[in-house]
């Protein structure tokens, strides 16, 4: 226990620092020497990335951190390890994605856009970690991040470069991947003695309120998450608008269904904390498409439906039959709405036409450009393939399948590695407990000085 965590972190930091020294330089938007007399400061990419980046930042650490802090005895660990693993994930993703996408002349070229993409990679690890919340040591979580980040990047690269899946906010690449990776890990880390719960697995009014507050932060900034990588202009406008509508209809639907599920008509806070966000996942892959406001509304309702039903029926089933102990219900918030979102994108693609999109069609679906003459002024994309809507729809399905397979297998392998004995996995009695990791007591002396 004593030295495992600091040793691992210091080794990682040393290795990362060495890699930074050898490989990382500023990109042309951050490099002073790359500016010329004709560079306009306000054209710097910072100004298109940073306003939305901050929102995603807040989602990761404040929103998700609070959402996870629902357990009475595990609040510090939930928030602090989310902070630790999130930061490691970003640093590691800066290097892995850097070698994939920003490497030339022997250097990784780094700007805020890279950091934004690294946060998207990092969020994948944090979602997956939700499946094993309270049952894994920080050493295990960091190891999970070491393995999951490169696999995520490879899968993302397959989807964007080979399959050319259209998925503006990562419904498939992020949510589906994170979900099935996490489920793979937790299935391997199955704890039979926790089958009927754990005495420390308790919440209080206050922790549940903080968790709900986390939901609000995620909910508020989810439109930014879905829109940040959309094409500027009308596409980004639609991504914000559709996501907002989906979240809003999803929230209403959640209250209705949660109440219906209970014999006395009472609301389940777990539903309110989670299912109200499912619309953001469900609308994600098609968020920038012309799905109509009603389409966004409907996707939001569907997201809430599958999420509430998942918590109510599927999670207990998976837990008992498949040994899937999905602690935070990531399958309900990311997996099932991810499936809805994939199907939604397929339907949206099958319904797409030049009549609806105008010349923008070839910017949102660049691979259909070859079918027609592209007005040179509106498109800088050179089409490499010719795809009909049906083709693109099949590629979407293929993207889902590839992601499902890679993430689940990756999760299993990672789970097996996490079972290695020297990683500090807490014994059953210390699950859901800050005690092994933090100096705490219900009423502790301030330790600022003795």
């Amino acid at each position: 226990m004593r030295c495992r965590l600091p040793t691992l972190i210091l080794l990682l930091q040393g290795a990362l620092l060495a890699m930074f020294i050898v490989f990382v330089v500023y990109d042309e938007h951050a490099d002073a020497a790359a500016q010329s007399n004709t560079t306009k400061p306000m054209d710097n990419r910072l100004y298109s990335v940073f306003p939305l980046f901050k929102d995603i930042h807040a989602m990761l650490f404040v929103g998700l951190g609070l959402l996870l802090a629902f357990m009475k005895l595990y609040g510090f660990s939930a928030m602090a390890f989310n902070f630790l693993v999130g930061n490691f994930g970003i640093q590691w993703a800066l290097l892995v994605q850097g070698f994939f996408y920003h490497y030339w002349d022997g250097k990784i070229h780094l700007g805020m856009e890279n950091v934004l993409n690294a946060e998207f990679a990092s969020v994948v690890v944090l979602i997956s970690a939700g499946a094993v919340l309270g049952k894994t040591s920080p050493v295990q979580l960091l190891l999970m991040g070491i393995l999951e980040i490169p696999l995520f990047v490879v899968n993302e690269w397959l989807l964007t470069t080979y399959l050319k899946v259209v998925d503006v906010s990562g419904t498939i690449a992020i949510h589906v991947f994170a979900c099935y990776f996490g489920l793979g890990v937790t299935q391997i880390l199955y704890r039979p003695h926790l089958k009927s719960g754990h005495p420390k697995e308790i919440t209080t009014s206050m922790t549940d309120l903080l968790s709900l507050l986390g939901t609000f932060f995620l909910w508020i900034y989810w439109p930014s998450f879905n829109a940040v990588l959309a094409r500027p202009g009308d596409a980004q406008h639609r991504a914000v608008l559709n996501t907002f509508i989906a979240l809003s209809s999803c929230t209403m639907t959640t209250f209705a269904l949660s109440s219906l599920m209970n014999k006395k008509g009472k609301l389940n806070l777990v539903h309110v904390q989670n299912a109200t966000l499912a619309g953001g996942v469900a609308v994600g892959a098609a968020a920038d498409m012309m799905i109509t406001p009603a389409g966004a509304f409907g996707l939001g309702c569907l997201g809430a439906m599958v999420c509430v039903f998942g918590f109510q029926y599927l999670t207990p089933f998976l837990s008992q039959k498949l040994h899937l102990q999905d602690q935070c219900g990531i399958h309900n918030l990311h997996g099932l709405p991810g499936i809805v979102g994939t199907v939604g994108s397929i339907v949206a693609i099958l319904c797409s036409s030049e009549a609806i999109y105008g010349s923008s069609l070839y910017e949102i679906f660049p691979d259909r450009a070859a079918e027609h003459d592209i007005p040179a002024i509106t498109s800088t994309v050179v089409a490499e393939t010719e795809r009909s809507p049906t083709d693109q729809a099949l590629y979407q399905a293929a993207g889902f399948g590839v992601t499902f397979a890679i993430s689940l297998v990756g999760g299993y392998v990672t789970g097996l590695l996490l079972k290695m004995p020297f990683l500090g996995q807490p014994p059953d009695e210390f699950c859901f407990d800050d005690e092994p990791y933090f100096k705490v007591s219900e009423s502790q002396k301030v330790t600022r000085y003795p």
Copy 2:
């Protein structure tokens, strides 16, 4: 109890979805087909609306949600019903305002600007609901929203179209309206047995801290609220600046007066949580005018004064004499500072002149344009009437009077409808209690899986 809430919500969602399908299309900033080769993406209206929209979003759900969560046993309901009713209000307002302002060719044209205006409508319901916090079921609150939103839109339409009241941040249209509507409702819903308090009407240190945190979020983003609808440029700059100054002076004054009110000089948290925001209401109607920094400072001080005096003397008086049980003191935070704000705007108008405003005068007060030649380049507004400052001042007063009358009568009627027996109004003993609505206990088992 069992089925009322889900049935109502599902009916509402079904009706809203049907209306969205039939009537709602993207506006020209969100519609792909409306873009031409010459459209510049960065001119999309998203970029002027979204940065401030996010702040108002955070005010509604995080700020107001936390502010209302001050009761020990009613935290979930306060935050969750604020979330539920807020979302319903936005969806409903998108349609109602859509038919009023964005309807042509048989369609409502929807963009983020509509959502922004719908949030302003929704906040009206949430403010009114503060008067009956803890004493109404979610079914009642939704019904209140169904009725209040159209009335708000009609009143707003009267003020802007007929009376041409100048009220950049809705001091009259939003705060005064919401206040007297809520007071009307609560007067009808009077509960004689709660005259001397209720045993469940208790706070804890932690809930009071969270409520204060909600105050901070409201305080931080209030300048965005007051400025978002101001004309870009110097008017928006003044709206931010004046609001900030008013909030700051209001905060200082609150601490002084709250301490003065107490025999031992102790501060009352209720004052700190509420009166520190009164400056934002008081400066609102004139926020974009040339009221001078000192004027904003003074309005902030006045806002704090009336708010603290209201909590200390007027609320108890109204409660005992007029059967006005104003649970959150919305009269002190929205009504009285709203009156200050109306008077402030009248004074500011009486002092306005071309010497002070330059040619901007006719942009802030478009109805005075006819008196002079308008430099064509700076104004796209065609004046329909000729108004002297005194005329405009009288119209401001008329606008207040109309709003007061419509909202109060509307509140009475709504209150009577809310007394209908099948709406699940909680009996006295279940006021201020999450128990009827949520599955909770002080130390509950996590229910994520059995």
Copy 3:
């Protein structure tokens, strides 16, 4: 007790209002009459200042407020007095900085940029107040603000105007100044009986969680803090990027070192709450320079190191040997990382050259411009002195020394004044206790109406 606080506040508000009436007018970006037909609204300075201003706003009141609220019995005071003193500091700084920098034609010209700078001044007082948290009355804190703000402005003026220190985010001018001023005050206010702690100096899980949440808000918006005063374009891009990298590496390092410090390898929440932010201070003075991503990474690690070591070894030592009771450990979070940051800026300056910076060199280091021909188009700065890198490095060190001396002496003098008997300093038994200042009890009746 009874009347001291309200009397002081009302006197201050009266004086400030009088000064506002006599001296303060809108600047050319907020003044309607200053706009001409050719003024483009979107060129208004509001749009470059406000997006980052909001973040700093959130840091001051939400982030710092929560961070300070870690004590079970002193949460209201910590958050509310931070709010009170912060607001007074801003108003007071608007006047003091106004007379220094924005005064001509007998008027202070006020715009949002002034408010931004006033927030920077105000944060200095709030940092210093951390050293005496729980041991000073609000009257004492306000008096401290009255004295510290002008001294800060004078020191800042010396640094920027005479010494021409390069310090984009105020590592020296803000953090070092605030730290040693606060340490001076607390040394004078030494309380011998609190040498071995205080029975009320306790935290709870919930207050510690809220404090950690405050850390997250500070962490998230720190890049905005460091970048807001940087030159737009690549320099601002670097300031954001370097700060982010430093904070991220600093966070990882903190977890490692905190665990290493404990015999059982457990994490100390105080470290996680504080040292994870030290990277933002350490990278600050050089944040916009070409320090390379690896340099930012290293500065972050160093910041965490000195901060954790400071909490572990230096604070107890200073407390026992020098009678320095540094309640929040501001020496560890602002002083020591401030030294690292000063040294970092010196090294970065010694390594700077035209080869690395291109022509931007003379914008970041305007005083080196005279050595070369300046391309007229890129620089509007007229160089007054000729400085080699070594010269500039020596000026950086001189700036640190001047700041250290002025702030420490200022702190001593202020401490002596704060010892005056009629300022309501709480006796030892009422330290760390809301009781003297707020009407509270663990389960209090709501006092909204009787």
